[in-house]
Symmetry: D2
Subunit: 148 residues, 4 copies
Amino acid sequence: MTRHENISGIDAQRARAAFDAALASQRPEFEHFFLARLLGLSFAYGDADCVVEFEVQDFMFNPQGTLHGGIIATVMDISMGHLLKRMDGTGTTLEMKTQYLKPARHGVLRCRGEFIKRGKSISYLRSTLTDMDGDVVAFATSTWKRLG
Amino acid sequence: MTRHENISGIDAQRARAAFDAALASQRPEFEHFFLARLLGLSFAYGDADCVVEFEVQDFMFNPQGTLHGGIIATVMDISMGHLLKRMDGTGTTLEMKTQYLKPARHGVLRCRGEFIKRGKSISYLRSTLTDMDGDVVAFATSTWKRLG
Amino acid sequence: MTRHENISGIDAQRARAAFDAALASQRPEFEHFFLARLLGLSFAYGDADCVVEFEVQDFMFNPQGTLHGGIIATVMDISMGHLLKRMDGTGTTLEMKTQYLKPARHGVLRCRGEFIKRGKSISYLRSTLTDMDGDVVAFATSTWKRLG
Amino acid sequence: MTRHENISGIDAQRARAAFDAALASQRPEFEHFFLARLLGLSFAYGDADCVVEFEVQDFMFNPQGTLHGGIIATVMDISMGHLLKRMDGTGTTLEMKTQYLKPARHGVLRCRGEFIKRGKSISYLRSTLTDMDGDVVAFATSTWKRLG
């Protein structure tokens, strides 16, 4: 990273590597769509949860130099949508609320999506984002309508 | 766009153009940070609102081929955070709820951030995202703590 | 009001009058069910809103001596549910979020329920509670599923 | 209960007994304020939770004959506010979101308030309301500002 790039804010080389890898591997499917690839998300499933992990990178920052709340909301939304997809098929988010508890600046974050209630038509989910210290970074709840 | 790229999901050329332009123009400041540049956001301010506009592109899609809810939340968050910054200085989002009303697939979207209440310590904001037909795509409310 | 009743917290005579009037006039229907009567709600409808008014009384207080947030949520829920009932038939609240902006201690409050979006299956509503100074006491959004 | 009272909706005798008992025992303090007494709330505290129990009664119903969402919100708010009071002193609710999962018609409900995060200035709490079958009736999250 050159001095100029440092002044510019983000590590251009790492951002470009993430972008190129995402473009090369993306396809319009769960787990593999471009945004999931750009954020470097990995997916694992338990009996009743979906765990998404990713490494914080500076191209995901807000102007204050911490992980942008919109990126947090994106990953939490994905953790819930992928759990619903795996268990019950595709759904659409009617609404989602995210509470922001602790700023994240680096390291691997773990996001666990779980059901509050699995319904036939309407399902309620929640997601917890934790950092490597085990602290909760964000907590989200959402309401989904099942499709198809 | 080649047939192969079509199968792959997104228009690689447009995504790359957006990425390169973002990287070239980003700096760690309001309006200019990387995510705002990647999404191609433009900013305008009224007496008591912040209007953010951007064009939907397929690299912003969910696996169903519509604008990802996380991108919507990101832009709405930005519209409110930039209004607060302009009026009262930097703040931090305590929480935000987004309701998703209509899928968006293309065109220019307009996002208007407004105050519900400007407080000394705690401020309450809302944001409305509309498409070119004037339909509401999403509605969000949030609670902010002012800093500094 | 006797000295003893003053120490006890609420104006027992007014509370009893509200209770008796509610019991005498209640029936299990919109506008007339017991809780609506106990709170002394009046209802008016515009083309696309429902306005509910009521007078703050001390039996509705929290331990700090202001209108309890749960009573606020109840009235706002009612303003939205009655609008939906009037326009589209009965619905059920999937979720509701209320932001509390200003404490209320006395006077008549006005609560206006409106649509964010009228849907065939899912509808999105909001409600604004204002005091006699025109200040916003609370703002709520909710998501409803239409029934029958 | 006479036939006439049945037609009128609620069991007037039980409602009156609840009202009289509330009026006789209420004082403007946590656990003892009028609304808590009217709903017949009992309070128990663990190391990090507050459990509120109460019996559903028909004077708490909506026009459809199930426990009103506003009463649910009230009890959940109380479970969180009382936990915060016990642990950290009085706070004020900035916002609260409640998701409604299952209607409740009778029996004893149990509401558990817990911290998502205990903060110095801002605290985040959640509450879970369950019925006698162990099913979740409602789930709520809230954001509080500590006072004093």
